[in-house]
Symmetry: C2
Subunit: 194 residues, 2 copies
């Protein structure tokens, strides 16, 4: 004799605005109690030094196109000697002076401290927003390791001997700013009233 039981749980659906499969996988691994779908929307980024405002503008655009629950993620690099520059404008530093140029720039200052940050913005079906940030402190160093992912070769997280580019994907995910941000979002979602 066999018993079967079907449990129907109304799992909350969240749409992650991303075209990146790895980020989607990471989100699903951490936000296990939710159905994470993804949507690749090419939303324009506003020009801002405040990552929260950039993300909020994207959330609002997604929400206006179709009322639903969304998450948007953005990554920044804050260099202490430059009072936080480039922050969310890192993309344009990479495009103009490149990873090596950023290292050379930072090396001209006495202070090489930098923070890599992932901010996740969440908008619920009522249009309310919340933001979650994961930050990792480290140093800008001479490029080491694979060169295929942004500033990974020049960022050495505190307490580690490998740059992000020298780490395996698992090593990096274990210490990453993105993981911290997703964990913070997960805690928030768990405590929402059903």
């Amino acid at each position: 004799m066999r018993y079967s039981m079907i449990v129907i749980i109304n799992m909350k659906k969240i749409t992650f605005i991303t075209g990146n499969e790895n980020k989607l996988k990471e989100a699903r691994a951490i936000l296990k109690d939710f159905v994470i779908e993804n949507k690749k929307l090419d939303l324009p980024e506003i020009q801002e030094i405040d990552a929260g405002k950039i993300i909020e503008a994207k959330l609002r655009q997604a929400y206006e196109s179709e009322k639903a629950t969304y998450i948007v993620e953005d990554t920044s690099l804050y260099i202490e000697a430059l009072n936080g520059l480039p922050g969310p404008l890192i993309k344009w530093f990479l495009e103009t002076i490149g990873t090596v140029g950023i290292y050379e720039l930072a090396s001209k200052y006495d202070n090489q401290v930098a923070y890599t940050s992932c901010m996740i913005g969440y908008i619920d079906e009522k249009g309310r927003t919340d933001f979650f940030e994961g930050r990792v402190k480290g140093k800008i160093v001479e490029p080491r390791g694979k060169t295929n992912f942004g500033w990974d070769p020049i960022f050495l997280p505190d307490g580690h001997e490998k740059t992000f580019a020298e780490m395996t994907e698992e090593e990096k995910n274990a210490t990453s700013h993105r993981k911290l941000a997703f964990v913070a979002l997960g805690d928030f979602l768990k405590n929402l009233r059903p």
Copy 2:
């Protein structure tokens, strides 16, 4: 006996998207054959290193809100040693490290050459766009002169002994990137078929 004559000329009307009275005055002085009105619209700037794309996005937004003929202007600072950074992102450099911080940064390199640029975008009633740029070559120097206008204290145009901040308004307007851009736009407009 007195004669009076009324001449009615159908002067082209152009709306300059700006809230700045001085820029409006400058535009009117150069574009004498046109009726230059102004409209203060707070259009979001997209995140881009290409000034033309930033301006084009603004022109399109203005045009979509009301079909008319518009001009939009944006100013950039290109530092040669930084491969053109900050360009149109200058606002965020000023906000984070300030004029003195930009000078200190540039002084760490061997090359202090910089270009100050004004780009004007024009959209006609049919939605066609054209762009006009005025560039002035110079050097980043230690701050000198009034400190109330952006990077003026640290920009010394070639062939001059005064920084933009040390010049009178007339001296600055006579050499300025904005004037060059308006003159180029004026030439273009004159050659349009009536």
